[in-house]
Point group: C2
Chain length 321, copies 2
């Protein structure tokens, strides 16, 4: 009986995978230090290797595996199984990842954006269980969204719905990596935190950030900012407040446009806690029409790093219900 699936989540720098059953119980899992910032050939090798190890290690045969779900950062056309764009490597543009993996693995493969699959993971097994219209947002190096509508993953016309990170929240805001000004991502993600910290150090504000990064502004990371803020540094606190505030404005857009019953927030930055999340929830409540207040349950992820792996695998069953 085919009752297992493999889920693979290809992040920027690492690849996580798991083999699990219909109830969401992991039989095995693994990780490899390669990701979408690497050449596609390396990532394909890693995906093949990790799938083989999962099967070998458990003694589960290919015939018991329904398929392999693969989530990857960037823009993906799920139906065609193609990565449209991803990170900075042109080798990923229009890359037919699904077809190649299907041949190499001799198993059915599905491909989608990592935020979509993480949303599906939380919906099926995590903090979104029991919801009907759910949005999952990552507050992490970048900022992405996956949407579940009427209990189904919603991808939009060309598979790129949920691109909340590039919605404009301030036309006079900082330059975003996409070339526009004032995208949500230019305030509310790890890259934006780093930039704000570097700017503050650069303009010689009095701040603990300088000593904590050993006077090397380019070494500032979210953890440095969180540490300075915990020590009461006003510059670090202001940066976290700004990022949280804008993430909350992003949430207010989600609530007003999509009116979900549940919003699940995941991503590493959320571990910074109330210094970041309190301004976020305040901005959400301040920026929605009063009639929408409390319309959505806002909860933290339950699956964290497993969300993408579990959603990727579990979507196989949706394809073959």
């Amino acid at each position: 009986m085919k009752d297992c699936v493999v889920g693979i989540d290809i992040g920027g720098t690492k690849l996580a995978a798991g083999l699990f059953d219909r109830q969401g119980n992991f039989v095995a899992r693994g990780k490899l230090p390669t990701g979408s910032d690497c050449h596609p050939d390396q990532v394909i090798e890693a995906a093949v290797q990790i799938t083989r190890s999962l099967l070998q290690e458990t003694g589960i045969g290919r015939e018991q595996v329904e398929g392999v779900g693969v989530g990857i950062a960037g823009h993906v056309n799920h139906e065609q199984g193609i990565v449209l764009t991803n990170s900075n490597l042109p080798e990923w543009d229009y890359h037919p990842l699904r077809e190649i993996l299907e041949k190499r693995l001799a198993l059915p493969v599905i491909l989608d954006n990592d935020a979509n699959f993480a949303a599906w993971g939380e919906f099926r097994f995590g903090a979104g269980r029991g919801s009907r219209h759910m949005c999952y947002l990552t507050f992490s190096t970048g900022c992405g969204m996956g949407i579940v509508i009427d209990g189904k993953l919603y991808r939009g016309a060309t598979g790129t719905a949920g691109e909340i990170g590039h919605t404009v929240v301030n036309p006079d805001g900082p330059l975003c990596s996409c070339g526009k000004r004032g995208c949500l991502m230019s305030y509310a993600c790890g890259l934006a935190l780093d930039r704000m910290a570097r700017d503050s150090i650069g303009c010689s504000e009095e701040t603990l950030l300088r000593s904590l990064c050993g006077d090397c502004p380019e070494h500032v990371r979210a953890e440095t900012i969180a540490e300075a803020a915990r020590q009461g540094d006003p510059v670090a606190l202001r940066i976290l407040t700004t990022a949280g505030h804008y993430f909350g404005i992003g949430l207010s857009t989600v609530v007003q446009v999509l009116n979900p019953d549940t919003i699940v927030i995941g991503g590493g930055l959320t571990h910074i806690g109330p210094m970041l999340l309190d301004p976020c929830i305040r901005a959400l409540n301040d920026n929605i029409h009063p009639v929408l207040r409390d319309s959505a349950r806002v909860v933290l992820s339950e699956l964290w790093n497993d969300a993408g792996v579990m959603g990727a695998g579990a979507w196989i069953w949706e394809r073959n219900p």
Copy 2:
């Protein structure tokens, strides 16, 4: 055989209605000078009166009418048939309009937000025919949106999805009627145009607007601004450019979050034409991620004022397919 429906569209100042068949052919139509800015009792009388006239005038009996669809501005709970809030009249708050109309008309009644029903009208009979994921936006006194996903009207968890007018596009922007700053509505609707014109006249800028409104800034309307712009007035042109630009930013949010295949733009302001719409399309293209460029067909309404009436009536058949 029940093969007709009545659609009623309750705008701010007038009520429009029509009796039509499954193919969208009007058998009769009518209008009354009352709307959601009036007391609910007046509106109910008008709705009853216009429905009776439509039936009398055509000789069509109640038994041939499947039901009456009613669209109204403001927040509506479709399932409960209740107006949540609307205009400035507290009498509308939590008003059980559907139940009252069903008793008075002795016909099944459905109730929804006017933008939702206008979206459905364009989807079934107008510029959205053949689409799958469609958004309808009004660029009018206010600014609203109706969403069709997978060929069905999407209302969200509490019936208030599509609240694009109150998404924040500039946190430092002008005060909106909802109390927040920099909502899309504070730039991109008729009320915002009037305010920008009054502000320009007030700060003694050299502008044709002053003479065109007979030196009474409170008499400035969108038509005054359009007329001044047609005569080359730079202040009026700047106002239209600003409004169009921000409406385009709103469209970019819709494209990035919902990734529809079709966007239909309706509402009276669109008749101002390229002076307003060119900056809008430019801002849309400038503010979406390149991978989403040309992902949505952007078209003008085909049904205009009939969209709300036709969508309201036609949704009766969705309820009884």
